[in-house]
């Protein structure tokens, strides 16, 4: 099992050549076995024929001498035939009489004349064909000497067959070398072929990796092979995917921008009110100053009035700038941010004659090492959403508290409740792409902000109807995570 898994983990560009090489090894082993088998059969047949000829010639020469028991004649014949049959390479030839006594041997020093041949010596000789002993590399055979139907003696002959083994070895080496080279060539060919086939996959892989890092690039047309239709189709499919992703991103950016501009538009009209309201008073104060500016009491009062009116305008403008030019602000979240949100909500609330319950329990100054701008934007979005959902003359609420190492905000409305597909944008484990958010773009941006801060959102029904959206942002160790986001 582990072997299979390990095998599966090897790249295909190595697996294929290894398989090809293994296949070649199996094929060559089968072929070599057949060739060597046929070779040994042929060799043995040739050896049998040669031995037959040798024994025929020898028998004809020695039968009369054997019948006379003429030791010298037999030895002389053995001596002559041994040199005459060099191709057979006789190792030893022994001629024995019918009583099993040695008449002569090609090497009388080894097998003494007139000695009795041992039975086990006789037993190792086959009567018809040459039996080959691979240990001693000797072939041996025997022949009965027959005269007029009577056995008069026997010849025991053994031959050097090392050349047969050498020939087999040589052919085996040739086969192994040839097949080895073929296997290596096929494996190399397979490797190159698979590399060639999988090269487009490598291109695709590198593009996908850079896409995963946020730099999705289409494969340039020059990189798309024109002849390989399958690869071209694959690349074109990938390029279509990249294009679709780019379109989607562009659309999302556009939508987000539009949403921001839309809420900005609404706020801008509210701000215009905010600015317009004190303007009448300011102009009145200026008129009073023109007419009665010499009177110290009037002048002081008018200037104070103008100052307050300009301060109100300055605050509104500053809050708007802080909210809609967030890149200029990198300061951490503070209670002042909540005040900005409250200020920005004022025109919208007034327009719809809605109440705002405001309950903040955060102390003062900086409360968390969390960038203030996105949180302020998120709270503003939630409150605008709550205001839009709540009927005119209704009430919305914001509570903020610092508890258990996290900031907890709750926004309550008196609306009909969040539709499930909108609620899912806030609470589902994966918010989904921006395009599917539909009308809930503001909430999608809230979700993104909370995710970036490592916080969480809960949606619940309010105690008197309506909806409660709770947003928790961790305080501790947030600096690192936020920077990373």
């Amino acid at each position: 099992m582990n072997v299979l898994r390990a095998w599966g983990s090897i790249p295909v560009s190595y697996r294929v050549p290894v398989l090809v090489a293994l296949l070649m090894v199996v094929v060559s082993a089968a072929i070599s076995e057949r060739v060597l088998d046929r070779l040994s059969q042929t060799q043995e047949a040739a050896l049998d024929g040669l031995a037959e000829t040798y024994l025929d010639g020898l028998s004809a020469a020695i039968v009369p001498a054997v019948m006379r028991g003429d030791v010298w004649e037999i030895f002389d014949a053995l001596d002559r035939t041994t040199t005459a049959y060099r191709s057979l390479a006789p190792l030893e030839t022994v001629v024995a009489g019918v009583d099993g006594r040695v008449l002569a041997a090609s090497d009388p020093g080894r097998v003494a004349t007139y000695s009795q041949l041992p039975a086990d010596y006789v037993a190792q000789f086959g009567l018809r064909s040459v039996s080959i002993d691979s240990d001693t590399m000797a072939g041996s055979t025997r022949r009965d000497l027959v005269y007029q139907g009577q056995k008069v003696g026997a010849v025991f002959a053994s031959f050097d067959v090392s050349h047969l083994f050498a020939e087999r070895r040589e052919i085996l080496v040739t086969l192994l070398a040839t097949n080895g080279m073929l296997a290596a060539a096929f494996a190399l060919g397979g490797f190159l072929l698979v590399r060639r086939i999988t090269a487009p996959l490598g291109v695709l892989e590198s593009h996908m990796r850079s896409a995963a890092n946020g730099m999705a690039q289409p494969i340039p047309p020059a990189g798309i092979p024109s002849r390989d239709r399958e690869v071209a189709s694959l690349f074109n499919g990938y390029n279509a995917l990249v294009q679709a992703q780019r379109d989607s991103d562009r659309l999302a950016t556009q939508l987000a921008e539009e949403e921001r501009l839309a809420s900005l538009g609404r706020l801008a009209s509210g701000m215009a009110h905010e600015i317009n309201n004190p303007l009448g008073g300011l102009f009145n104060a200026i008129g009073t100053l023109k007419a009665h500016g010499s009177a110290p009491g009037v002048r002081e009062t008018s200037i104070a009035l103008i100052e307050r009116g300009l301060q109100g305008i300055r605050d509104v403008v500053a809050a708007a700038l802080a909210t809609y030019r967030p890149e200029r602000s990198t300061r951490t979240f503070a209670v002042a941010d909540l005040e900005d949100v409250r200020l920005l909500m004022t025109p919208e609330l007034r327009r719809k004659r809605q109440r705002l319950e405001w309950s903040v329990d955060l102390g003062s100054g900086e409360v968390a090492r969390v960038n203030g701008a996105p949180i302020r934007q998120a709270l503003l979005n939630l409150l605008l959403n709550a205001s839009a959902a709540t009927p005119e003359g209704g009430g919305i609420a914001l509570s903020a508290a610092s508890r258990g190492g996290e900031l907890r905000f709750e926004v309550r409305d008196e609306g009909p409740g969040l539709p499930p597909h909108v609620a899912r944008i806030l609470v589902a484990s994966e918010p989904g792409p921006i395009v599917s958010a539909g009308g809930g773009l503001g909430l999608w941006m809230v979700r993104r902000t909370v995710d970036e801060c490592g916080g969480r959102i809960a949606v619940a029904d309010g105690p008197n109807g309506g909806t409660v959206i709770a947003m928790s942002i961790p305080i501790a160790q947030e600096e690192r995570r936020f920077d990373a986001a």
């Binding site: 030791v71 010298w72 002389d76 001596d79 020093g109 003494a112 004349t113």
Partner: protein, 294 residues
Amino acid sequence: MDRSKASLVNRREAVRLFAATAASLALPAIGRAEEDKVFRFGLTPVFLVNDLELLDHLRGYLASRLKVPVELVTRRTYQEITALLVSGQIQSAWICGYPFVAFRSQLDLVATPSWRGRPLYQSYVIVHRDRQVDDWTGLRGDVHAFSDPDSNSGYLVTTALLAENRTTPDRFFSHHFFTYGHRNVVRAVASRLAQSGSVDGYVWEVMRETEPDLVAQTKVLRRSEWLGFPPVAAPRLLAGDPRLAAIRDALTGMKDDPEGQAVLKLLRLDGFVVTEPSLFDTIAAKMDVVRRLG
């Protein structure tokens, strides 16, 4: 009755019979003219008959001296040549001293080779080089190789030695066989086919030069006394034939002729000399010993 003695005597009888029959059959043929022209010279394995170069030179030399074609007749055994010679079918032959003595009444001496200055040679008993043995008595129970039953140095000398010690080859050796050639005795002992052998000392000494590797595997255990060198003999039937005088002249004049010198050089002989038949009395004595004691 001793078996070897009986067989020896019987063989001699047989040769006589065979020779007589062959002679009666062959004699009419000798009259034919074309047969007359060919001089038949018999050779026995007393020397190196396997040397074709030597045979060519010898035939050429004899033909040039005799002025007739010469046919060299070789047979496997001494016995066959002796029979042909005694019956007159060959005009002369180089035979061993033993058949010469045995058929002395029917043969005339033509010439005797001279080796190392004398018409004498020895018989050797040889064993394998590696064998540890002190003297010939240590050879009891051997497989022994003889050269030829009609050879002096290759059979009679050793048999006489055994007879003097009141034994025979059959009793002394476990087995013995004949190789029908002195060179073959050397081969048999060198290859250990036989544990010991009786061989012509002249042949053994010449082979030391011509086949040193083969001879080096043997060593001489016993040298006999000097005996008459195997002579060239002619049938007494042809006594007075002018060709016999011519062959004697050819042989004794060999050392003065270039081709004859080539023959002598190959044979390692000094030349041929005319000797008295009494040169072979020692061999006759050995024959007598075997007949009496063996």
